[in-house]
């Protein structure tokens, strides 16, 4: 995202740069105005160009790439951008002696045009995606798609005039979804392919072609025109036909991220105008700061942050259950370490143990212990780490945990969360629950459940909101009802589906099944209605839905039944690597109920009124809540004795943490494992 990231090797993938995602709202015109010292990549480019400072500023390809290599990977584009041929930009001659600072060099006019076109394209394709993903309100699509549908995608000039006329009218009307779909879809100009063939739009003209049949390549290689750049219609990546590869350029990247931020803002504004979005503040280092960053930054190491936690059984051998304690603690700590939000919080020095009042006062602070943990994990050491201090702190601060022998990873998880919260929220210790605590734990893990109890007598609805830190789901033995959906998918005219594969899916139940069961409507008997007019105790229906989803969703599957004898549920629960929580949100459930009632009124279709997570019922106007899996905790063995292991995703790869050993794993293994707890983080547009 920033030049610094490039130079120092601190990519966004590390998740350390918390603020970098928002830094991209600089257009080409503004860029030229930036003071020299402010440009973050100037320093790095400086050192590169120093070595060639004696050059005459000739227009050789190598020279230009050396000079601007920090901000652009394509020599051809760099050549065009800074225009060493000096045929269109008379100022570039005077800037050549000054070339040690690329930020000071004005962009050529043709490059500015390209950037503008790119911005238009990005807007239209973001609008397209939004329309396609069907989570937009109709209004939003209109503002974005109609407002900015670029001239060079729409082939018909008259259509453009039409749409601008219509725009005024439509903005006043409640617009029908039909209109939105009437906007022409981009298609290949030669074979009329509409997307399966990976559409690319030429950045120089209005041509749109597919990659599959090489129509875009043919266009770009055409000798009659000097076009060589095209934009992928799905990822907004830029393809250079001369490099035969996708290229990266800082200026274009800034436009893309800027547009994404803008789009997000627009979506959230339309979705819920009462929610205030925090303003993105652009930050670029001053010369002083830049020097410091350059001096102190170290390249990101391989496997940084991956470290085993040693089993302290040897050091505390006299305590018989230490081995068990160790592994349940280790797995939870590993999930903390690799939680992107916690990582960003602690690595950006939000809780400094040298400044912590509790620590200074000599008390035990769990947040400080977390800080120490992160420091140790990213210190570059590879030998397994012993979290003895952390264990000690847990024992000291939570007596219940210290005395309870048969610990459970989930209990430990909750206990640690509570401890960190009470240590962090020094200002508002009094109100532990139901307050808007802004401590890191509540910012990361807290969501709200809404339960609506409808009295069957007077239809009075009692609504309560409960804060949650995680979801605990029951795994009941999968009855016939669970599998009926699967079967209906598989049955019918599908000769390829063998009996064996059908059986396979029958045996396990999925996480979505569990969620559906847990959020299904429940009938309460002997319900005392709160409505004064209806004092009878009667039946009622209880609906639990998710009012607010947390940024990090922690799900526990209740594998241990503590009632009576106590046993472990061994059912295999298949978890998806990407989870859509939309069907369980209050918003979505209400929208669906309205839709269903209107459908019933009209004519009920047999297939439509289906189950809760079905794709058919997804309402168009419901915003999406997509989650990605990043950590899984498994438990092997029985209720009394057992062993915990964790799978954690770190920079795109899965790793298995088994106490002190860390091994590479595949996603297949992760998804096939017997999950006890799993952690998902919310997929914003910019998350890692």
């Amino acid at each position: 995202m920033s030049g610094l990231g490039l130079g120092a090797g601190l990519g966004m993938g590390a998740g350390i740069g918390t603020g970098t995602a928002s830094s991209g709202v600089v257009g080409p015109s503004q860029k030229a105005k930036l003071p020299i010292a402010v440009s973050p990549y100037a320093l790095f480019a400086d050192s590169i160009s120093n070595s060639i400072s004696n050059s005459t500023g000739s227009s050789t390809l190598t020279n230009s790439t050396q000079r601007f290599g920090a901000s652009c990977t394509c020599p051809h584009l760099a050549l065009l951008k800074y225009d060493f041929n000096t045929d269109t930009n008379p100022n570039s001659d005077s800037t050549v002696p000054n070339a040690s600072n690329p930020a000071a060099v004005a962009l050529s006019r043709s490059a500015t045009i390209l950037l503008d076109r790119y911005r238009d394209l990005v807007r239209s394709l973001l609008g397209n995606c939004a329309r396609g993903a069907s989570f937009f309100t109709t209004l939003a699509v209109n503002v974005i798609v109609i407002g900015h549908f670029p001239l060079h995608v729409s082939t018909n000039a008259n259509a453009e005039v039409d749409s601008s006329k219509k725009r005024k009218k439509l903005s006043q009307l409640e617009v029908d979804i039909g209109w939105v779909q009437a906007i022409p879809l981009p298609f290949c100009k030669i074979c009329a392919d509409t997307g399966l063939g990976r559409l690319h739009a030429c950045l120089h003209c209005s041509f749109v072609g597919c990659f599959k049949h090489k129509h875009i390549n043919a266009h770009l290689l055409d000798q009659n025109n000097p076009h060589f750049l095209a934009v992928d219609f799905h990822h907004a990546a830029i393809y250079c036909v001369k490099c035969k590869d996708y290229i990266w350029d800082l200026d274009f990247e800034r436009i893309l991220s800027g547009e994404r931020v803008r789009m997000d803002a627009l979506i959230s504004k339309i979705k819920d105008s009462s929610v205030r979005r925090s303003k993105t503040v652009e930050w670029s280092p001053t010369l002083d700061e830049a020097l410091k960053i350059q001096k102190f930054s170290v390249p990101l190491r391989h496997c940084s942050g991956l470290r085993g936690l040693s089993n302290m059984g040897s050091t505390l051998a006299d305590v018989c259950y230490v081995v068990f304690i160790q592994c349940f603690m280790n797995v939870v700590l590993q999930t903390f370490i690799h939680n992107p939000l916690l990582r960003a919080h602690f690595l950006s020095d939000k809780h400094n143990q040298d400044l912590c009042p509790l620590k200074i006062a000599g008390k035990i602070c769990m947040a400080c212990e977390m800080d120490t943990l992160f420091t140790n994990f990213y210190s570059g050491e590879v030998i397994p780490f012993s979290p003895s201090n952390f264990l000690y702190a847990t024992w000291m601060s939570n007596t219940a945990l210290a005395h309870y022998a048969q610990q459970d990873a989930h209990e430990f998880f909750i206990a640690v969360l509570n401890e960190i919260h009470s240590n962090c929220a020094s200002g508002s210790i009094g109100g532990k629950e139901n307050t808007n605590c802004r401590c890191v734990i509540h910012q990361v893990f807290q969501g709200y459940l809404q339960s609506d109890v409808t009295c069957s007598q007077c239809r009075n609805v009692t609504t309560t909101k409960d804060p949650i830190l995680d979801l605990s789901l029951n795994i009941k033995s999968s009855g016939p009802g669970v599998n009926s959906k699967k079967k209906s998918i598989g049955s019918g005219s599908t000769p390829n589906l063998t009996a064996a594969t059908l059986n396979d899916t029958d045996f396990s139940c999925t996480l979505v099944d569990c969620l559906e069961r847990n959020f299904a409507a429940e009938t309460l008997t002997h319900y005392q209605c709160g409505n004064p007019g209806c004092a009878k105790s009667s039946e009622s229906v209880k609906h639990v839905t998710i009012k607010n989803l947390p940024p990090v969703l922690s799900i526990q599957l209740k594998r241990f039944e503590h009632s009576g004898q106590g046993s472990k549920v061994d059912t295999h629960v298949r978890i998806p690597s990407e989870l859509d929580m939309t069907p369980f949100t209050t918003h979505s459930v209400q929208a669906r109920m309205e839709k269903n009632s209107s459908l019933v009124a009209a004519k009920s279709k047999p297939g439509v009124s289906g189950s809760i997570g079905s794709y058919d019922v997804l309402n168009d106007s419901v915003p999406e809540h997509r989650y990605s899996l990043f950590a899984v905790i498994n438990h092997q063995g029985s209720l009394e004795t057992g062993h915990y292991t964790a799978y954690v995703k770190s920079r795109g790869d899965w790793f298995l943490f088994d106490d002190h050993t860390v091994t590479l794993a595949t996603q297949k293994e992760v998804l096939a494992s017997k999950v006890y707890m799993c952690y998902y983080f919310s997929d914003g547009q910019h998350t890692i």
Binding site: T501, T666, K668
Partner: protein, 96 residues
Amino acid sequence: MSQQANTFKSIVDQKLIKSGEKDKLKELLRTRLVESGWRDDLKALCKEVIQAKGIETLTVEELVQEITPKGRAMVPDTVRAEVLQRIRRALVDQND
């Protein structure tokens, strides 16, 4: 014959786009492929190819050419069947 097949394909494509079903299908397919580990396998395959040919010399086109047939073959039959079933149903629903 292939000409006919192509026109038929594009008609179906258009229909699915118009009803908005195509996006849902895409999503479904994406989810299923991720679930089945296809994406994981394909990624590993890409890495292999890149390592074998060298990142300096390999172009995107070559990679696509090499990977596409293998990727197609790797799609699990269950996923194929489910999507096909979906498409059928969507078309039938539309004609009703």
